[in-house]
């Protein structure tokens, strides 16, 4: 039982390389869906496993056993395993709950602040302009959807590049990408090994919007140039302060530009394999946690005297 329930807890650690592979090979929208579904299911399975450990530990306490109407002692591995596992699980669940609640509060506050900022700025169609010396642009989902762009960003791009930027942000809003980002955030708080998957989901959302923008303006190179120029303008405005540690393989922006310059992605068998590997991880995790939970449930029924031994 214990070994089986460890699978959904350990499997997410093996997923990030597979997630990166899938992101590199699948069409961006497909990658967005596959990665998000994987992250959510893996997070749910690991929560279920932790919850089961806690439940088994609780049923070892005489008071809880009485409450659960156990007439026989619950058959489990040694208490030396069950009790520490339950204690660790309680701790892990508490950490998850606190970090999730804090993140949700912060996100809601940031969203409300951005929304009221957009409401005050001048709006033409769906565009809100914020007068600021820092080049920045983002999609602001809501009713109605808005795109927020600073004056510095508008001035760093030419007319055609601005159209690419607008098309990119509109694609985020039309595609409902904020739901995917929220799901990624949720999963990352449930299991620390899913944080790299959150980064992959964010990149998949950007790539999907980039491709939509390239289709809307009918020019991949123009879209790539708009992204690169906006990023470089942002860097110039911020100065050369050392922020993030230099990544070996290049950050998300160069990857996006490179993908646009490389031309449309042709479907390849390796893409199917990458997706299949990820979905297999999800299936294993689901099967292990379901079997583990079912077995614990059966043992509880035995202990309650409702099922034959």
């Amino acid at each position: 039982m214990t070994a089986l329930l460890l699978v959904p807890l350990l499997l997410p650690c093996a997923v990030p390389p597979a997630a990166r592979r899938a992101l590199a090979r699948l069409a961006p929208v497909t990658a967005l869906w596959v990665l998000t579904v994987c992250a959510l299911v893996l997070a749910a399975c690991s929560l279920a496993a932790l919850g089961t450990f806690v439940l088994v530990g609780l049923l070892k306490l005489p008071a809880c056993a009485a409450l659960g109407e156990l007439v026989h002692p619950l058959r489990t591995p040694s208490d030396l395993v069950v009790v520490p596992a339950a204690a660790v699980s309680v701790g892990a669940l508490a950490v998850c709950a606190v970090s999730l609640a804090r993140s949700a509060l912060r996100q809601a506050r940031a969203w409300r602040a951005a929304r009221s900022e957009a409401a005050r700025g001048p709006a033409a169609g769906d565009l809100c302009v914020v007068d600021s010396p820092h080049p920045d642009a983002y999609a602001l989902p809501g009713r109605p959807h808005r795109i927020v762009v600073t004056t510095a960003m508008l001035r760093s791009l030419d007319a055609a590049e601005r159209e690419a930027l607008f098309a990119h942000e509109r694609a985020h809003n039309r595609g409902g990408h904020h739901y995917f980002l929220a799901a990624a955030e949720l999963a990352a708080h449930c299991h620390p090994a899913l944080r790299p998957v959150r980064a992959a989901i964010r990149l998949a959302a950007e790539r999907a919007a980039d491709e939509a923008a390239a289709r809307a303006v009918g020019d991949r190179r123009l879209t790539a140039r708009a992204i690169a120029r906006a990023a470089l303008a942002g860097r110039a405005a911020r100065g050369n302060r050392p922020d993030v540690a230099a990544a070996a393989a290049g950050g998300p922006v160069p990857q996006r530009v490179e993908a646009l310059l490389a031309g449309p992605r042709v479907p390849r068998p390796s893409a199917v394999r990458a997706a299949a590997l990820l979905l297999a991880c999800v299936a294993v995790s689901c099967a292990a946690s379901t079997t583990g939970v079912a077995e614990v449930h059966h043992r509880v029924e035995v202990a309650q005297g409702e099922a034959p031994r």
Binding site: R106, Q107, A110, A114, S116, E117, R120, G121, P122, A124, G125, D126, L127, V129, V130, D131, S132, H134, D136, Y138, T150, T151, L154, L157, D158, A159, A160, R162, E163, F166, H168, R170, H172, H177, H178, L181, A209, R225, I227, A228, A230, A231, L232, G234, R235, R238, P242, D243, V244, A246, A247, A248, G250, G251, P252, V253, P254, V257, L261, G263
Partner: protein
């Protein structure tokens, strides 16, 4: 871009593009200048109509220039508050989680890679 393509675009998107031209410019612009700044095949009368609509909404202001008007974006009275909120948001760093940003921060390596990618000698395909 062609007339046909732009004619199909929703009015809101055209308004956004026109307002963007005015904000990107360093002074008031006549409809003719806006039309050229758009770089799209929009008819000048369409641009004038959009500018008039933006003016009616109070998003842009205009002043007489020759026989027509030159338009410029309005700095709203709450602009200062909006700017302050914007910098608060930027400092918090939470926004990049909940909102899809156009570009993330660059590392020095990213900057080098981007410049190489954009270099027309190596970048033309």
């Amino acid at each position: 871009m062609t007339d046909a393509k732009d004619a199909r675009r929703p009015a809101g998107e055209l308004e956004a593009s026109v307002l963007a031209v005015l904000w990107a410019a360093d002074g008031p612009r006549t409809p003719g200048q806006v039309q050229r700044g758009l770089g799209a095949g929009l008819a000048r009368t369409t641009v004038t109509t959009i500018l008039t609509r933006l003016h009616d909404k109070g998003i842009v202001a205009r002043r007489r220039q020759g026989r027509g008007y030159a338009y410029y974006p309005v700095q709203d009275p709450q602009g200062l508050t909006a700017r302050r909120m914007h910098s608060e948001l930027a400092r918090g760093g939470d926004r990049e989680r909940v909102l899809a940003r156009f570009v993330e921060q660059l590392s020095p390596d990213d900057e080098r890679i981007l410049r190489e990618l954009l270099d027309p000698r190596s970048g033309e395909r």
